[in-house]
Symmetry: C2
Subunit: 491 residues, 2 copies
Amino acid sequence: MSKTVPLGDIAAFDDEADVIVIGYGIAGACAALEARRSGGDVLVIERASAGGGSSALSSGLFYFGGGTAVQQAAGYDDSAENMYRFMVASMGMEQANHIRRYCDDNVAHFDWMEAQGVPFERSYYPDKAVFILSTEGLMSTGNEKVWPFRDIATPVPRGHQVQMAGESPGAGAMTPLLARCEEEGVRASHDSIATALIVDEAGGAAGVAIRQTGQDRYYRARRGVVIATGGFGVNKEMLARYFPGLPDTAEPLGTPYTDGSGILLGTAAGAATSGMDGMIATASIYPPGQLIKGIIVNTLGQRFVAEDSYHGRTASFIMEQPGQRAFLIVDADIFAYPEITTAHHELIDGFETVEEMEARLELPSGSLARTMASYNRHAAQGRDPLFNKHPDWLKPLDKGPWAAFDISFNRSNYLYITLGGLKITSDAQVLDGKGAVIPGLYAAGACTAHIPRCGKSYASGMSLGPGSYFGRVAGRVAMGNSAPLSGAAGA
Amino acid sequence: MSKTVPLGDIAAFDDEADVIVIGYGIAGACAALEARRSGGDVLVIERASAGGGSSALSSGLFYFGGGTAVQQAAGYDDSAENMYRFMVASMGMEQANHIRRYCDDNVAHFDWMEAQGVPFERSYYPDKAVFILSTEGLMSTGNEKVWPFRDIATPVPRGHQVQMAGESPGAGAMTPLLARCEEEGVRASHDSIATALIVDEAGGAAGVAIRQTGQDRYYRARRGVVIATGGFGVNKEMLARYFPGLPDTAEPLGTPYTDGSGILLGTAAGAATSGMDGMIATASIYPPGQLIKGIIVNTLGQRFVAEDSYHGRTASFIMEQPGQRAFLIVDADIFAYPEITTAHHELIDGFETVEEMEARLELPSGSLARTMASYNRHAAQGRDPLFNKHPDWLKPLDKGPWAAFDISFNRSNYLYITLGGLKITSDAQVLDGKGAVIPGLYAAGACTAHIPRCGKSYASGMSLGPGSYFGRVAGRVAMGNSAPLSGAAGA
């Protein structure tokens, strides 16, 4: 897998195309469509028997903003500038160029997505949720209202859910995108494993070696190769290297093909990677939202995160605590068992006194009592001096009995996505270790370094959103198409 | 070095004390003084022939705020809350409890420091500098005015420089602190290497094994051991492990004893570490401040950081660029060779056109021209859409000829401090890998995990400031002294 094949070694090619795309999830489909519309003969290599990938299994959330039609219909004012400020402040400046480009084109990209037949309902889901089974088109899926980000940019919801009920609305995006590809003559080779990039004498990508029904085949790419595969959530060797503390209880999201193979194809050809130790994991304390009014403490009885953080942000902080352990503490005002409970976490017990709870959780004597006394005193004043939790979620936890949930990273079924991958320019060109562009090699989607570097800064929709956008960029740049990427017509 | 000695193995002790402090820099001196004033017999183990350590070699900057007498005299309003907001937003929430405690006590801690005889002039140095040779007591040493932090907390200067001219005003702090220790009966054993902690059956710290003039000696600690040694800037094995990309041109700050030995003493006894891959490195582009009006680009011709960032923040971003390379580009308005140049960086050349400069720097064709056109257009409007560089430093770079400096991490003499170390509670108790406190073991200063996790969030003074404060905490807690740590009397 981690080799390259010299172009000169290949006597005869089995097929050729202008652009070869590896992977038929959202990044690959968008790349294929744009390369095709730029005049290219396009061939997609897909390991499964049909297109869709992890995108089709996903909850169908796109992180879109800047003032989309859905945001406007829900009464939210957003702008490219406001979206940019939030994204750079929360996700870091490392990829400011990528973020600027994504934000500036975002309304046009949303319109393009709808023009392909991907529907978004003009409606808003106001409660706290990780994903929803209903069809509302807009929900809050990030840290926009979490301090300090709410001081930097006006908080607005940006999670755009494809209009499709059920657990996998991502299929509602992939079905029309794959239909457009097929209608417009994108060719696809299914049940095919890309085993190596074919490289020319200058080190550029010139094709792809694949394995199909037990046979090796060689496909020539006249203009470029786009790697658009998934993350490495099921690759045990890569997980052991980049996440040595990952507990057995954690489970990868996505298809069994999120094995990092596209990343390895790229690195074998000299590609650099970035952010490989980044992960978004989640076992959310919400819904129901009222549990956010509880506090989260570590084994020292100390709080360490604003409880109103996006679930992936909370999880990242839990992963850093002693023993990766944490507890959610609620009082009787918040918790009424069995009507109110969490989907992901074990209820340890109810307790008549804080002292009993402290003993049972094996916290240092007096530590939880001190934390709660301080929290309650400030919450009564509508303040949280430690983490600036939003006043909407502040109330003294003074009504016993109390209950504690074990929300430890190593005690609950956290679901995760890896965030690191190939390093690309904002033109989706793959970079080598010295920072030079590898000729003819492009990448987009989950096999590239995500814009958010870790779960602390992730927002739901940051895979499908940038994956679809930079997939489009890759397809166009590979074909030398420098026309502005905007407009509902898909021009 | 990385072993422990069982208490039961020691037939007879050579000496004993209530509290043994390892390392006589600022954290150790403050720990010793507080333990002594809490009634303890205190013995300090110091490897050199005299106290002072890296603290005495330093530029004598303390990150103090919240409304100190020096800030007030310079006309700056600050508060514990404002300081806290800046610190948590820029340095992360991981150590929010430590930060809260540090900020709440900061004015009292400053007063205490002055009461020990450490002088701070009531004066302000208004220009951009890394350190100063004059005696002004206050200067800006962090990212307070850098976006987004300036939107989150009111920017005020917090770098408090000890009143002592020259390159090592840190001695102006250590001299009086060591004098107070001696006057008040703190005992010291110089030229002594701590080789192992002595641990009791419960795993707690019960003493220190040392090597002195070729002999092994065993010192019993009745109440506790405080590790107060330096970072690991000269430990080649630890550097190779945590900073595999560190170029040969980088040089450690501090004494030759910043070899990580205190960290290894702790980990041998089961202590956990944190943030070991954190480093503040610097080869500042300022002074002179006007160079900040230039732009910094990577080998792709792209900007990647706000040029008005604290020098250590800029350096951290440079370290992440392709090949760790970066260039500072200025125009003729800013640069008048040889009157204006930078202290740390090689001038590559002057260029009549941007195209010539692009070719000489081997940037992709057109990339620098595009970056400069965009920057200049926005700068003329007083804006920086990518990084929100402060308008004070914005001007179009449109007056040729232009000059370029090589500010690559691997081409200049970057000076660095390691930031990771032993994991402590906000009571300066050392934690083990499971998050439990190791009985009798305390730590403070550069051998502990700094509050800032990396150079992006560091501010000058974040070693001496928290080092002195948590040193005091350690000395008191080791003696079981729970009186409030405040007041000029040092009570």
